[in-house]
Amino acid sequence: MSNVGIVIVSHSPLVAEGTADMVRQMVGDEVPLAWCGGNGHGGLGTSVEAIMAAIDKAWSEAGVAILVDLGGAETNSEMAVEMIGEPRAQKIIVCNAPIVEGAVMAATEASGGASLREVVATAHELSPS
């Protein structure tokens, strides 16, 4: 699939899965989508390993936009992108946007064939700068 992929990273697997459900309702299967949540040990948190696996699952040659909730999700996502390394890393962007609204808006934009830059810009419009 050539549409930009969306990855949802929350501290809570319930939030991540619920957000993914809302994205699916909007865009069906037109956008590669993956989510992860929890620290991998049954608690709240985020796992670099799980984020890397989610990026693999939602991978698209057009790129991947990651939507995160709180700071640790952002830090761990940036670490995951760095560990994936080039050349793929330059096609992965961690968005500065509210996770639910950002994921739904970004996926909707992606489903129309928009570029990674356009998808990320749509998510960023939701954040007061």
């Binding site: 670099v48 640790g72 670490m79 560990m83």
Partner: protein, 200 residues
């Protein structure tokens, strides 16, 4: 500097984190999400479990492997932050560093942590301990003196207002509590310093 017994340093670091895990969690419960002690303990026990394999590698490779292990096992934001410290140290350090090259590599590693956390000194984070420790290394302080400086630096985060991480959500209410990451950094500095001194 004598050749380092890395397995000994790893055990010393893992011991101090294990002994203080509840204290670290209590600090984090006051102004964070309350998982710091458990997360750090999980990470350092994972490193301890492979201490033999790590210490068989050349120092730069060993430090990078430890950093990667922490990134993958700690789970909270501390994973990438402490992981980056070791990853960057491994990238910058030579196989048999003297004090000057260790200090220089440590300075670069601190810059990498600051970039990872989008933070700087004075924001109530681990950087508030790392930077004075770097300055102590540069100034020729002993391990014991450096440990005292690290403890005092962690203590000095108490009156600070948090500007990064979950504690920053509390704003003024973060004042009056020690930063958990600063405390764990000071604990690591003391334990590793003592283990190096015991080797020398």
């Amino acid at each position: 500097m004598a050749a380092l017994d890395l397995a000994r340093l790893i055990n010393a670091a893992a011991d101090t984190i294990a002994v203080h895990a509840e204290e670290l969690t209590a600090l984090d419960q006051a102004i964070g999400d309350g998982d710091h002690g458990l997360n750090m303990k999980r990470g350092f026990e994972a490193v301890r479990a492979e201490a033999g394999a790590f210490s068989a590698k050349p120092l730069p490779e060993a430090l990078k492997a430890i950093g990667t292990k922490l990134v993958m096992t700690v789970g909270g934001a501390s994973g990438p932050l402490f992981g980056t410290l070791f990853l960057a140290l491994g990238k910058e350090i030579s196989a048999e560093p003297d004090r000057a090259s260790l200090t220089a590599a440590f300075g670069k590693a601190i810059e990498a942590v600051a970039a990872r956390g989008k933070s700087q000194v004075g924001q109530k984070t681990m950087l508030d301990v790392l930077q004075p420790v770097h300055d102590a290394l540069a100034g020729g302080k002993t391990a014991a003196e450096t440990a005292e400086i690290a403890d005092a630096a962690a203590e000095a985060t108490v009156p600070m207002k948090a500007l990064r991480g979950r504690a920053s959500f509390l704003g003024e209410r973060s004042i009056g509590h020690m930063d958990a990451g600063a405390r764990s950094t000071a604990l690591l500095v003391r334990s590793v310093g003592e283990a190096i001194e015991a080797d020398a």
